[in-house]
Symmetry: D2
Subunit: 278 residues, 4 copies
């Protein structure tokens, strides 16, 4: 018996759940878990169905297309581990957390490779026997640098790219190659403190909470669909450095929770938002 | 157009969602929100469906009974406000919070009456024009006292009794009259610090967290199905009194969240547990 | 035996704690609780000392001035209840929470009066026998409206003004009359979603967390020293209205916690920030 | 300039802060951070002072003994990294988290060695070049097994032993060798679900929150002074296995926070409790 996840996203109408689950029933598939959501403001229906059984994928999609609105977006995805390539700069906390969790089974992911624009994290990658590609951005244009990265990344046929504190801005051309497939951790509680030195900004403002945001990257800088956010309480005694140090813990925790959600097909992107079924 | 909530609880089987939503579709009912859960350990299926449309309740139940296993528990309940009677002793924080939230629309509930075994909270009830019944436990047996309360309570035809810091132990006879209809706030994070003086127990143990538990009352003292729990962080500087004072905030917050869930038919009791769809 | 709080705020130097506590010791005052903080970035020392004993206030201040840097800011304040005047518009949740907590002893504060630019909340004020002044902003200029309010407020000799969802912008002239004495609850996690309709902004952005901020009001709109912030987790299923409804709970909780801190002299304002000793 | 932490623990009396900080001032030491606490129920005074300057340790202690009550407990400790030996069984999540945080600077600790009663975690230790000692408990008595461990541990002159999911009960003889120097992570929110299979217990009880507790080990099983606790919210959809899986995240997070506190000399043990200054 196999397991798959069926993701349906279509215009709202009466009877959708009945029709979709009817097709599953006809295919003698067992529903392990089912979640729906209707965005009334946009008249949009979303459903995620975890199925178990013998799958004739083509036939199922076919049967679903017959009963659903013509513009429906239907995906039947395997629940096998997803492959990721991780992009990093110098900071180790997010990469280290992902490597360690993948190692002991706390995160279901297949780390295909790590790409760094500095060599700092190569020793860490080696500990876990993950290929590390050092691709310096120095002495080449942004486009040249990205092209070198793309060449390496495409060789790995990854499902997702994970920016684990990759501190360079990506061009629209790069982003468009991986639509809704690049996951970033923003070192701030978006939309506050967008851009550089968010912890210094937070310190200057005297905030009592700092946070982090994991989001898909699209072509509006810091503005892609948010997957997960979390915060910690801080106080006057935290220097800007203390905020950064404590912020790292939230960053890695939020990134790793977002990865868990995406890896389990629990996140549906629509417009600039996400539906997260968990 | 009316709104109702359909609650189904039956042995798990293939095709249940399809069958139930099929009946809803045949009745031209619109599904506003749907939630399911399968307890694999017990082979039990639970579904909560918010419906909108014209209801022929008897026919719907009838149609559902035809397609569902014979031992299914099917409820179609109105989404009108529930009526509660609140039982209190002397402490005002939980009662006050419920009264105030009901007043400004933060809690959808119809408070029919308040019953107190002391007179302390009568002035508070009067502020909000809620009938207050002072029924002292002094000079009468436990059974006599409860009989007096039952006489008053039954007159109000309440859906639920809420023990808002009612500090007396109820007899099995009383509890049996209101099966899964009595909601209690336990001034502790159950199952820790069961019984008397939980805050002193917590202080003596030096815990770094205190909490509260809202649960249905059954005949195992402090052991009924848990609806909601929450905690706050504390430290060495809290005296037992400070713990109690801060604990009150958690108590009222947890009780009010539990009431919100129960009032919106989001809680299904089975065995000594709850399924909470929210 | 009396209790007072000594607040010291001066340029940092060696021996300050020793000197200040030495003066307290010479006056035979018992230190109940002591908290210090040095802002190294600004070379500033802050200390809050809860004292018990017989106070000769003038002499103590005199003795402290002798041993501290000449620009020190020294306050010896009674721990008696503070008086507040509450300004409201139409929403009841923050006002209701303060009234109820003050009623049952969950908030140590003396509510002198309530001023509203609508009559909506007069019945709530009456329940608790607090004078309510309806001062409409209609048909008069902003300055005229504020002058009317000032005339009423000054009659009450309040320590603090509390804006409990007072939905009008105050002029610099008004704010200057009450320096660091106006406490506002901002219906957002500052500095995100500043200004109008923050819940709609949050919904459109698809955030997974919403929050509230209590701060002192100064003449930069939404920019005064932050006292307290808190957040709740939300998800895609919340409409903009749901965010607002749930946000109200955070608003009242944050405002009431901020009031608790300010009423107990645990907040020191300096520049655009606060030191919060608790 | 050096940094040290002065820990004072004595019977409460007037003037203690003044006397202690006076001695520091006389030694021309700069106070970086100061924290005090008086346990009024026990008449006990606690103070932690972070100092910077040139230290004549013996003379300072001497001067303090002159001015403090005769039974005072005075410690002047270096702020150098502490050395730990970690004891493990088979589970990798706590060990992995400590190793990774120590690697990237998220935890200030010097890991001298790892001792395991299984070989499972040796490869993980090797990745980080930490000596791993496999000391099986099989085929020997509890005392013999512990003696073998003690022989190895004592060779490392560790400040603390960390039980990172070490699943064996220690004898009083072992515990007495390391008084208040053994830190354990208990896979439960103490005092709930003490003992074996806490996640199954939690699942059977239907709790809505699970947690973990880091505590010093003394000779009352599961009853030593609590250092840190935390919880996560769960619901009916978590199986006992899901609770365990999610519980692991809390366990490692709580253990690592407790280590941070202990490593920075922020925890004072007295009786069966802790004062935690942070």
């Amino acid at each position: 018996m196999e397991r798959k996840v069926l993701i349906t996203n279509c215009a709202d109408a009466q009877g959708l759940i009945s029709k979709i689950t009817g097709v599953c029933f006809n295919h003698q598939l067992n529903i392990i878990k089912n979640s729906e959501f209707v965005d009334n403001a946009q008249g949009r229906f979303f459903m995620r169905t975890e199925l178990e059984g013998e799958f004739n994928g083509e036939l199922i999609i076919n049967d679903l297309e017959k009963v659903l609105p013509s513009t429906s977006d239907i995906k039947l995805v395997s629940s096998a581990k997803k492959r990721i390539v991780i992009l990093v700069t110098k900071e180790a906390h997010c990469l280290g957390d992902i490597l360690m969790k993948a190692y002991y089974g706390g995160l279901d992911v297949d780390i295909a490779a790590i790409v760094g624009n500095y060599q700092s994290l190569e020793p860490l990658a080696e500990k876990f026997d993950i290929p590390f590609h050092f691709i310096s951005h120095e002495g080449c244009s942004r486009a040249e640098h990205e092209n070198k990265m793309v060449a390496v990344i495409e060789g790995y046929e990854a499902d997702y790219l994970v920016l684990a504190k990759f501190m360079r801005i990506l061009t629209p051309e790069f982003v468009e190659r991986f639509p809704n497939r690049i996951i970033n951790i923003h070192h701030s509680f978006l939309p506050a403190f967008i851009g550089a030195s968010p912890y210094r900004q937070a310190w200057e403002r005297g905030v009592k909470i700092i946070g982090a945001t994991a989001h898909f990257v699209n072509n509006c800088l810091d503005e892609g669909p948010i997957i997960k956010q979390d915060v910690i309480h801080v106080d006057h005694s935290y220097s800007a450095d203390d905020l950064a140090k404590n912020g790292r813990d939230v960053e890695k925790s939020v990134l790793s929770k977002a990865l868990h959600l995406v890896m389990h097909e629990e996140v549906i992107v629509y417009g600039n938002k996400t539906v997260v079924f968990n």
